[in-house]
Amino acid sequence: MFSLLTRASLRYLARHPAQLVLAILGVAVGVAVVVGIDTASVSARRSFQLATSALSGSATHVVRGTPNIPESAYVALALEPGSPPAAPVVQRALGLVRPAKRTLELLGVDPLAEGPFRGYTGSSGGTDAAALLRGDGAWLSSDTAREIGAKVGDELVFVVGSREKSLVLAGLLEPQSSLARAALADVALVDISTAQSFLGQRGELTRIDLLLPGDAGARDAALARLKTLLPPTCTVEPASRRSETLAGMTRAFDINLRALGFLALLVGVFLVYNTMTFAVVQRRPLWGTLRSIGATRGELFRRVCVEALAIGALGTTLGLGLGLLLAQALVRLVTRTINDLYYVVSVRELAIEPSTLVEATLLGLGATLVGALFPAFDAMRTPPKAVLDRAALEARLRSRLGRLALAGLAAGALSFGLLKVSSNNLPLGFAALFLMLFAAALLVPLATSLACRAIAPVAGLLGGNLGRIATRGITSHLARSSVAIAALAIALSATAGMGILVDSFRTTVVNWLNTTLVADVYVSSPSTFSNRDSAVLSEELVTRLTNDPRVGGVTSFRDGEIELADGSRVLASAASLHPRSRDAYRLLQGDPKLVWPAFETTEGIVASEALARHRGLKKGSRLEVRTAVGVRTFEVLGVFRDYSSDQGWALISKATWARNLNDERVSSRRETTSRARFPACAPPFLRAKSCSCARATM
């Protein structure tokens, strides 16, 4: 079955089980981390895309507003003869608190307009007619209802803004397809008027779904006509863009996770290299015999590669299985991070992509081959006479120590150069770091040799001949020992580096928080997800607190988004800043004496450091923003240090917000705030004034 040479190789591996297991585990762990991380993040992304596309139904385009769409825009569309099929939607993620804690997407639709868009909304199980009549009925999929332990007629309590509000489970939906099941997994379906009144969005829509013609000419004509019908705060975009934009936000997060996987694989490569070098060095007499009795260099090269591939295949197979197990655990952590930082997603099952498995298999086998390449070349290139000499490899390595160290220094210099130019480029930054690891690995043989030479006298004094043997043993087997030391150094440096990075970041954030948190008490609505508050505080609470004579001052915020002229969106906070709160923003660009007066009086924003980096902004840059009165240019007045959002956000004065964005909306929320700061107040009285759904933090 196998050739004699293959048989000899396989038996060699079988006779050295510990060595074999170590190499296999090295590859397996690397592949497992790559598969685990990839599968977890792909599952989260896929779930989000599936839910988004399923909720969009067959809509080709979507009308969005800044921030919402006036209902009159839909009426104008519906009344226009020949306008494309359109369906109004009100949608918001809400925290369900009873009968179980969970985040659900409240989806308000108009049943009469839904026909061409979302077929599954019609399929239902039992119905509570009373709830339908009252207008507070919601429908859940039978799976979701079972999971939260609700039956028809039960109360569903949500947190909306700063209040708890309830709907009644009016009926159960029985999804007929897997797509519909996925779409309805985290959805509470309600009539659009119920959604508007429940969310306090009367007269406003979240979006309008459109079904435009497939033909490019007809589609362009329809888009042109829509522009004339819709108010300037509304834009029409392809239905897929929103999910693409949101998924794009997690790009840096994905790259960081993948880099960790590759680091694990790199350590695996070193283990394989070490094992294969050991296996080659150990069998030098055997290679010599084979070469002497007529084996060609190519045959020896293939032998070593076949052995490495056998190790790689076993390690990769094991790694794929371990990776899928790891993904089960990782997906919860990844989902939690995405929910905290980016968008709401719930992952029900792992999305095991064939491409992930193929990529991991190629990586596992490729990494093993890379690890075996040098030993294989070494076995192949050495002439038979030298192969018979056990010391030949060590002698060659010793003669190359200087050159290896020089190559290491050159790689180190290149790495530093790359780090200098890669400040905004994450992949380039990782390439530089990996190059630095490689440079350090190249310096290890010389460093090991010098260190052993330095400690040899001490070792001799302390341990006699045994001490000398120990240190000389390291230098006389430098080909193996230096690789083992390099692998250990990389693993240790990665661990120490991550620790220092996390520690430094934590210290920086603590310092930043100490500077930023200048108020005595913070009040916000409880939020079950996201690091930004989409919910609002009640007007009454804010008015009471603001007017209380014991409150020294208030800073209030309204968190939202602004849309740029290119259609992209930027997180923004409209703030009414108390003078003391300005100290919380440590300006990296701009003079505080000039920035804050301009902030209140001119059309400008102050950008967070992350926003400035992502968008290439600096003091004096200009942003084209879509407003209620068309596209307006906002000047970047300054850039401040911030760690609250990796995508970055813009600070806008409330006056600027009111002037430029939907007037009606701003006037109706002039006093409502999502966060309020009280520089000097007594906590007990504040607690008494807060309603049950506002959160006071000191």
């Binding site: 050739s3 004699l4 040479l5 048989r7 000899a8 190789s9 038996r11 060699y12 006779r15 007499p285 055997l286 010599g288 015999t289 084979l290 070469r291 002497s292 009795i293 007529g294 084996a295 060609t296 260099r297 045959e299 002439p383 038979p384 006479k385 018979l388």
Partner: protein
């Protein structure tokens, strides 16, 4: 193509071999002239370090001389004008036409004795029924038929030596080179050659 009877199998002319050591160059062969003919049995005797193994390595194409000419089967493997023949060419000559017995036997530890004998045949592309029959006959000739399925580490030093000799003969080479320590090589080789 096999060489005719009494023809020259190997010829060395003015062969020198030096080794570069830490701080000097040591010459072990000082202009050797040697001719080996088909059917001859030649023995080299010399004290330790006199260059016997170096000469065997040159004759087998494993190593190249520092100077001089090495001809094997009428082909120049190293000449003053031509330099060394390619590594692959020398390997091909060795695998098809030379049988080597090493100082330390050098049997492959992960192959059985029978598989060790079959290996040169596989490398030459002659691993057929006739080759297997010849390997079995040689094992019988050196008295190791019963040990065919054993691994080398289960054999005594003498048995390993006999197996190594059988391996050197299995592909019917035109030149058999046996390095020292093959103490029983003469009797074993003779017996094996007579019986095969």
């Amino acid at each position: 193509m096999p060489t005719p009877a009494n023809s020259t199998v190997a010829r060395l002319i003015g062969v020198r071999k030096s080794y570069v050591e830490v701080d000097h160059t040591r010459e072990v062969l000082h202009g050797i002239d040697l001719e080996l003919r088909r059917g001859e049995f030649t023995v080299l005797v010399g004290r330790s370090g006199s260059g016997k193994s170096s000469l065997v390595h040159l004759l087998s194409g494993i190593d190249v001389p520092s100077a001089g000419t090495v001809e094997l089967f009428g082909e120049t493997l190293f000449g003053p004008d031509t330099g060394p023949a390619s590594e692959d060419r020398r390997t091909d000559v060795r695998r098809r036409r030379i049988g080597l017995v090493f100082q330390f036997f050098n049997l492959l530890p992960t192959l059985t004795i029978e598989e060790n004998l079959l290996l040169p045949l596989e490398l030459c592309g002659k691993l057929d029924a006739a080759g297997r029959k010849r390997a079995a006959e040689l094992l019988d000739a050196v008295g190791l038929a019963a040990a065919a399925r054993k691994f080398p580490d289960r054999l005594s030093g003498g048995e390993q030596q006999r197996a190594a000799i059988a391996r050197a003969l299995v592909h019917d080479p035109e030149l058999v080179l046996a390095d020292e320590r093959s103490s029983c090589s003469r009797s074993c080789c003779g017996r094996a050659r007579r019986r095969c």
